[in-house]
């Protein structure tokens, strides 16, 4: 066994802790005195340090250690948070993030010691008087040591040692090593007990040896233990550092131990001692603490408080945690393969349906069963989809920090307001959506919001506001990025378009504002007057658009000069299986996503009018452009041109279009399959699906036709 197999867990958890720290430090900037936030930061930093240490990432451990020291002082009220400190802390978090990303790429932490940051952290510590700190640390350590080494053999479960174990213990004693018994308590909600235990072993083996374990090491590694296990270890040094190392492993609730008394084994077998070790230790602790703290009586009350604080927060954690305890981390690939199987099942179900129809089977029982099967597969599909859904929180939670940094960098006061972080999307979409959102926020912060003097002159509040709102709308998830800044100067874009030769002057003057604004999504079309570090390098909105379209989504802009801009991203809830309307055009079958369809109309050929040489129909007061699918698809319609037309009214945002088809087949649940790289050039075909009879039907992307 080696530690590398826990690298993924380490990376995942480190990222979580770093995100947590970022959020907390940001909160601290607003509310410097909040003891809960400070406690939270301290805990995260402490866990991070322990994890980095266990995995052998010394540089990362050192940096976290120094950060933790600062918080330890803050928590004890010896240091006050100030703006300079927050900046140092953020730089520290950035450095830690860098370690994590280097580790992710190379499995090694790299060789950047980040000395300047460590120095700054130490300067902060020094600023409040280092002697004081040292003294306190020492006194803090002593009672702790006493606590942990107080009771003796009760830390061993009482199992009698095997001959081999006896022998290795004697050998160790001969070598002048000390023998300790240690009991390790795992947190109640710990998910990977075996992994934690392994990390504990690893931590112990750094400078001591494990002689015996109860349950056996094998059983522990197989997760055959409850919430605690006992060890007998030999070490040349003191027990205290070992216990600290064990406690540094995350999800380890506690570790206690003392000198091991080999003679006691027989006696302690009467299970009272092992059954209630907690109580016994508690007693031992109070006894032990008293004499040590006596000489420093003035410090004593504080100490008591300090002790209480972690205990209390521990309790809180427990009560809030059960929800987490019931979840399981699953590899996304396993979910993908599950989803594929569900897709196959739906195709098979569709085949069964068409098979039964073709066979002219009229048995009621068969139809009942098929209907039952249909409802089961639909529910199964929905369940699998839900499993794959994660809240967008994981991506958006880093944005407040980003906006803060931009605000400082540009010297432009601004604030980010977010809502709907709990909105869920397919995991694959969530993973991809971060970059486009980040780009849009930067865009708003950099180009959208005006400088404070301009804002005041315009009668706006000095500080700019950026909003990120997410919500579910039917089968879509909508994410809006909105700012109350300058808005887009449509005429400036228009001039630019002419200047760049994107449009002729005539075209530009005839085009309406929304067409002009859409030009911003063209590659290399930046209107920023000066290129800044943040955006305006000409890569941007086009990348945003293509990324979102790759996720089968769409992006839309609304803007009002002087008032602000709103970018609206609309993403489908699922990418794999949709409800579709099956239609026939020129004898070929096509599928149209039901979510893009508003109504289906019968239109007489005489109702078709021509406006600017384009065919339109007037539907209940709306003038809707007509798209003849047979022409678009390069095929001959088989319908009598004189008969009334079947028109599928599709919508994209607020725009409508009428798609003329030959025939309707009906609604069907279809599994979307990619057409592959070779033939994806056709813009309005978004994929293919396999029908019940094995035939392939292409899926028409109505968005590309409107």
């Amino acid at each position: 066994m080696d530690v590398s197999q826990y690298l993924d867990i380490f990376l995942d958890e480190s990222k979580e802790h770093l995100q947590n720290l970022n959020t907390s430090v940001l909160n601290l900037e607003q509310d410097a005195e909040n003891p809960e936030t400070i406690g939270e930061i301290f805990r995260s930093a402490h866990t991070l340090k322990g994890m980095a240490g266990t995995m052998g990432f010394k540089r990362m451990q050192t940096l976290t250690h120094d950060m933790e020291n600062v918080f330890s002082e803050v928590r004890d009220g010896n240091l006050k948070i100030n703006a300079g400190m927050i900046d140092v802390l953020f730089r520290c978090l950035d450095a830690l993030e860098e370690y994590v990303s280097i580790i992710q790429e190379t499995s090694d932490e790299g060789d950047n010691d980040n000395e300047p940051i460590i120095k700054e952290l130490n300067d902060i510590l020094a600023s409040k008087g280092s002697e004081d700190a040292a003294a306190k640390e020492e006194t803090a350590a002593k009672p702790a040591a006493a606590e942990n080494t107080a009771a003796s053999t009760s830390f061993w479960s009482g199992r009698e040692l095997t001959e081999e174990e006896q022998k290795s213990m004697e050998d160790a004693m001969m070598a002048n090593k000390k023998i300790y018994a240690v009991t390790v308590y795992v947190e109640e909600n710990c998910l990977l007990k075996a992994a934690r235990a392994f990390l504990v072993f690893k931590a112990i083996e750094e400078n001591s040896e494990i002689i015996a374990a109860d349950p056996s090491t094998q059983d522990i590694e197989d997760e055959k233990f409850d919430l605690q296990f006992s060890l007998i270890i030999s070490s040349e040094g003191e027990l205290e550092p070992v216990l600290t190392a064990i406690k540094g492993v995350s999800e380890i609730a506690d570790a206690k131990g003392g000198l091991f008394d080999a003679d006691s084994i027989g006696e302690s077998v009467d299970s009272t001692e092992t059954a209630a070790p907690e109580e016994k230790q508690e007693e031992a602790v109070t006894e032990a603490v008293a004499p040590v703290t006596a000489p420093v009586t003035i410090e004593a009350p504080k100490k008591a408080e300090e002790k209480k604080a972690p205990a209390k927060t521990g309790g809180e954690k427990k009560s809030g945690k059960p929800a987490v305890g019931r979840s399981v981390r699953v590899d996304i690939e396993k979910l993908d393969s599950l989803m594929n199987l569900v897709s196959e099942l739906i195709i098979a179900k569709n085949s069964l349906v068409s098979g039964a129809t073709n066979a002219g089977e009229n048995s009621g029982a068969l139809h009942d069963q098929i209907e039952y099967l249909e409802s089961v597969t639909t529910n199964l599909h929905e369940s699998v989809m839900k499993v794959r859904m994660v809240p967008i929180e994981s991506v958006v939670s880093k944005f407040p920090r980003m906006i803060r940094d931009i605000s400082k960098q540009l010297n432009k006061p601004m604030e980010l307001f977010m809502s709907g972080e709990e909105t869920e999307l397919d995991r694959t979409v969530v993973d991809e959506i971060g970059d486009p959102l980040m780009h849009m926020l930067r865009n708003s912060a950099d180009h959208g919001l005006e400088m404070p003097d301009v804002r005041i002159a315009r009668g706006k509040p000095e500080s700019g506001s950026i909003y990120l709102d997410a919500y579910q709308d039917g089968n879509n998830v909508v994410i809006e990025v909105r700012d109350d800044g300058n808005g887009i100067d449509v005429n400036a874009v228009r001039e630019k378009a002419i200047e760049r030769g994107v449009m002729t002057e005539e075209q530009a003057n005839n085009a309406d504002d929304s067409d002009i604004i859409n030009l911003l999504f063209l590659p290399s079309f930046s209107t920023a007057k000066k290129v800044s570090d943040l955006s305006g390098r000409g890569v941007g909105l086009d990348v945003v658009k293509s990324k979102i379209e790759a996720l089968s989504g769409e992006v839309d802009v609304k803007t009002k000069l002087g008032e602000g801009t709103t970018f609206t991203i609309r993403l489908p809830l699922t990418l794999a299986i949709i409800q579709a309307l099956m239609v026939v055009v020129g004898g070929e079958k096509y599928a149209i996503a039901l979510s893009g369809i508003t109504t289906i109309e019968n239109i007489e050929p005489s109702e078709v009018k021509t406006v600017q040489s384009k065919e339109v129909i007037n539907l209940r007061g709306n003038v809707i452009p007509l798209v003849r699918l047979d022409e678009v698809l390069d095929i001959e319609s088989t319908r009598d041109p004189a008969s009334s037309m079947v028109v599928v009214i599709a919508k994209k945002g607020e725009k409508l279009a009428g798609l003329v088809v030959d025939e309707l087949i009906g609604q069907q649940e279809i599994v979307i399959k990619s057409l592959g790289k070779y033939i994806n050039k056709c813009k309005f075909i978004s994929g293919a699906t396999i029908l019940g009879d094995g035939e392939i039907a292409l899926i028409i992307d109505t968005n590309a036709l409107i």
Binding site: I347, G676, Y678, I679, C682, K683, I685, I696
Partner: protein, 153 residues
């Protein structure tokens, strides 16, 4: 099959080719790139794609594009009949693709000394041939699949 093949290559330096016919010419395709050979299935046309793409087929639940070697080589379009086959090609770094051929003839073993590099044949259909193999007195043009796939990507 792959194992068997590699032992062949190692011991005898023989490479197995599937011999296909397009018009009167024989072409060889390295067997290690062939995933499957299927009879003509129903092909669904895809609009607005280059002429050498015939459409997509359903291969055991997978949607696979099909191209015409004839059209790619500048020959007359295919006239599918009972001998027509689709050869499913899978090459690393490329997605699976089906190639329509007039017929599949046999499997041959060619050693390196039986293969000659291409002369300066300027015909369009010769552009995708990377060597000529001699077998049973006949000539087999060995197709450069990589070049074809690169071009159509």
């Amino acid at each position: 099959m792959a194992n068997e093949l590699s032992t062949n290559v190692n011991t005898n330096e023989l490479t197995q080719y599937i011999v296909i016919k397009i018009g009167d010419e024989q072409y060889g395709i390295d067997i290690k790139y062939i995933d499957n050979i299927v009879r003509l299935p129903q092909i669904t046309r895809v609009p607005k794609v280059p002429a050498h793409f015939l459409g997509v087929i359903n291969l055991r639940g997978e949607v696979i594009p099909v191209m015409s070697l004839r059209i790619k080589m500048g020959l007359e379009a295919d006239s599918p009949n009972k001998d027509t086959r689709i050869i499913i090609i899978k090459m690393a770094q490329y997605e699976a693709i089906g190639m329509m051929v007039d017929s599949v003839k046999e499997v041959v073993n060619l050693s390196s000394e039986m293969i000659e590099a291409m002369g300066n044949d300027k015909r369009e259909e010769a552009a995708y041939v990377r060597g000529i193999g001699k077998h049973d007195g006949g000539l087999i043009s060995l197709l450069d699949l990589e070049l074809i796939l690169q071009e159509i990507q």
